[in-house]
């Protein structure tokens, strides 16, 4: 059942890519067609209008689907480190109720989950944090939080790469430094 459903979803995403309906989803596909149970996705917050903290960033997610899918939720983790009250900075684990067995519904699919994670970026929940420091900062010093997020994005180089749809890896040639307002300061040319 899991395999059939995943192929159905895959065909659906091929027919109408999630990026079309939701530009914040850059890609969603299995890592290889040989193993339909391992997916990866790239989500982004391109402009400041999309998100006051995470603008200009993009993140890679790993999606591990179990054989019991859709009766059990898939396990989604951030591969790209992100500073967020509900996301573990080191492991990328996400604290989101619908990713847990109790609140998951089989009527949702992978695209729905990505939308939910995008919404989690928009409205962090500092009352049940995985990253306590980020939660405290978010609660008491939003501006500082914003700077922290942007700094971390700069550190790991997870900015939206307009040219490529794959996430940026830090190579000196394409590393871009921006200030907190999101405007480009300068590009470092090796």
């Amino acid at each position: 059942m899991a395999e059939r459903r995943l192929f159905q979803e895959y065909n659906r995403y091929k027919k109408s890519p999630p990026s079309k309906s939701n530009p914040q989803i850059i890609s969603l596909n299995p890592i290889s067609e040989d193993n339909i149970f391992n997916w990866q996705a790239i989500i982004s917050k391109p402009t400041k209008k999309d998100n006051p903290f995470y603008y200009g960033g993009q993140w890679k997610l790993s999606i591990a689907v179990s054989r019991q899918y859709p009766l059990e939720p898939p396990v989604i983790k951030f591969i790209t480190p992100i500073v967020h009250p509900n996301i573990n900075l080191k492991t990328g684990e996400i604290c989101l109720d619908i990713l847990k067995k109790d609140a998951w519904s089989p009527a949702w699919n992978l695209e729905h989950l990505l939308v939910a994670i995008l919404m989690l970026l928009d409205s962090p929940e500092p009352d049940s944090p995985l990253n306590i420091d980020a939660a405290n900062l978010y609660r008491h010093d939003p501006v500082g939080f914003q700077s922290m997020v942007q700094f971390n994005m700069w550190k790991v180089g997870s900015f939206v790469d307009v040219k490529k749809s794959t996430p940026t890896t830090i190579t000196k040639s394409n590393q871009v430094i921006r200030d907190v307002s999101g405007s480009k300061i300068r590009a470092i040319i090796a």
Binding site: M1, R4, R12, L71, A107, N109
Partner: protein
């Protein structure tokens, strides 16, 4: 059957009185059984009672009869309607040996026979699995498997006979010659009149037997005809909708599932479902055996059952919905 009213011989009992006595005895036997059950429960626990219900019943029956009939006393039922045992001629009380024989054959023998028959059957079944050849033993099994049917017929005939003549209520009483007589003098003509209404029952039983045997004959005949048909036109398949025998019924039930799957990828199935709601939200494919939850949301039977067993709620709206509330659409 009854002699002239002037003789000192006690008149034979009529069917109605015997039946009444028997009912009363059955009631006391059941009370005995309950007491025995309580006794064994204290001694061996509830589990013992559950694993040997038949044995306890037999024991209760045997105990009741040996405490009454065997000792020469009357059972409570016999006392109730004032009956006593006499021998076939009605001139003397039955001896001890026939009484023992009666109790053994009446209470214990059916149980022993059925036990032997069961063990015999199971052991021979194993053997017949080993080698497929038809042996004398298998023939015996066949005979034994008809044992209950034959016994049933014999007992029915016997009961019918009892209703007509009012002589022996059970077969073992006939064998050992235990007849009932009234313990008091009664006008035999009155007795004769009263037993008249029971012959109707006997008539019904005989009629039932007659109809049954007719039906059995017919099915046997059908089988013969069918066999002939099969040899004549082996390739011709019987497409009739009538169910002739167990075999066709069996094949029907085996084919049932595949015949009655409703696959919504076929547009002629359940045409009232609009096109955009023919897919299951869980497997994302056209629904197979669509089933509605309480809230009205429709899914494949297999999909929704898998989900609801673990989470008794609708996947779409989370309304509480137990497995037994699912309604397959037809």
């Amino acid at each position: 059957m009854s002699s002239n009213p002037n003789s000192r011989q006690l008149p034979f009992a009529d069917a109605a009185t015997i039946v009444r006595a028997h009912q009363k005895d059955a009631y006391f036997e059941s009370i005995y059984r309950t007491y025995l059950q309580d006794f064994f429960q204290i001694l061996h626990g509830q589990r013992f009672i559950n694993s040997y219900p038949q044995e306890i019943t037999v024991l209760a029956k045997a105990l009741y009869l040996s405490l009454t009939t065997l000792l020469g006393a009357r059972t409570l039922g016999e006392e109730y309607v004032d009956l006593i045992y006499v021998n076939k001629t009605g001139k003397r009380l039955p001896r001890l040996l026939p009484r023992i024989g009666f109790i053994l054959s009446y209470a214990v023998l059916p149980y022993i026979v059925s036990k032997i028959f069961k063990s015999f059957k199971s052991s021979s079944e194993e053997e017949s699995k080993k080698d497929g050849s038809i042996s004398i033993k298998q023939w015996l099994i066949r005979m034994f498997s008809n044992y209950y049917k034959v016994l049933d017929v014999i007992l029915n005939v016997h009961i019918a006979l009892f209703y007509f003549k009012g002589e022996f209520y059970s077969l073992s009483k006939r064998i050992f010659g235990l007849r009932y007589a009234f313990g008091h003098n009664k006008d035999p003509q009155k007795v004769q009149q009263q037993s008249g209404n029971y012959s109707l029952l006997g008539g019904i039983i005989i009629l039932q037997l007659f109809v049954k045997s007719l039906m059995a004959l017919k099915s046997y005949n059908d089988e013969l005809v069918k066999k002939g048909e099969k040899t004549n036109t082996a390739t011709q398949r019987d497409n009739g909708t009538r169910i002739h025998d167990i075999n066709t019924l069996q094949t029907l039930s085996e084919n049932f599932e595949t015949d009655h799957i409703i696959d919504l990828s076929d547009e002629s199935q359940l045409p009232y479902l609009p096109e955009n709601s023919r897919n299951c939200m869980l497997c994302l494919s056209p629904m197979v055996n669509p089933s509605a939850a309480i809230c009205g949301h429709i899914f494949c039977w297999d999909c929704i059952v898998d989900w609801i067993r673990e989470h008794p709620e609708c996947p779409l709206c989370r309304q509480q919905c137990a497995e037994q509330n699912l309604l397959p659409l037809r």
